[in-house]
Symmetry: C2
């Protein structure tokens, strides 16, 4: 691996880490699940049924928005949030990158054991 390739890898890891960190909270996953039906929802709406305060939910939404997982748009007195499926796909691909590398190793290993 060249030095430049290595640098790129590091940078990408940083972005991915931020993404996973945003996903690494039960409340935030719950918010994503609520938004996964495609209907944009207000902060108050997203707070309903939770035992947390509206402000806590707002903070979580900020984290999700910074990670690019949701976007909010002010609509009158409401701030409607919706999911960003592309970013979700990015996280998906990051896991693929690691697991595929591992799978490739597994293949080589299997062939080796089989005497191929």
């Amino acid at each position: 691996m060249s030095a430049r390739t290595h640098e790129r890898l590091i940078r990408r890891l940083g972005q991915h880490a931020a993404l996973f960190a945003a996903l690494g909270d039960q409340t935030r996953l719950m918010i994503l699940v609520k938004l996964a039906d495609g209907v944009p929802q207000s902060i108050t709406r997203l707070s309903e049924g939770s035992d947390l305060t509206r402000q806590a939910i707002t903070k979580h939404l900020t984290v999700l928005e910074d990670a690019g997982l949701v976007t909010g748009s002010r609509q009158g007195r409401e701030n409607l949030f919706q999911i960003e499926s592309d970013t979700l796909a990015t996280a998906h691909d990051a896991l693929d990158a690691i697991s595929k590398q591992w799978d490739a190793t597994l293949d080589r290993l299997k062939k080796h054991v089989e005497g191929a």
Copy 2:
């Protein structure tokens, strides 16, 4: 959604959150990448090339192990760690669950717009 289904969902979200949280750190992703070539490596080995202390790496390995992403086994005076690809697949599936729900919504939406 029934109350029991809802409980299960919550429990699963908790597990998934822990998994993503473990993935949500640059140093830990780096460790996983190092282990992704399939060769079990000692703590000292995994610490080489990092500007962190061995103990810091040890802590990260503990987090990864608690999340089920790696396992360590003592071999003489070394503790050799290797990746657990199944757990990685679990995280993968969790993202699938959310993004597929979103994709389904998108499909319905598209059909609706197309007047189908």
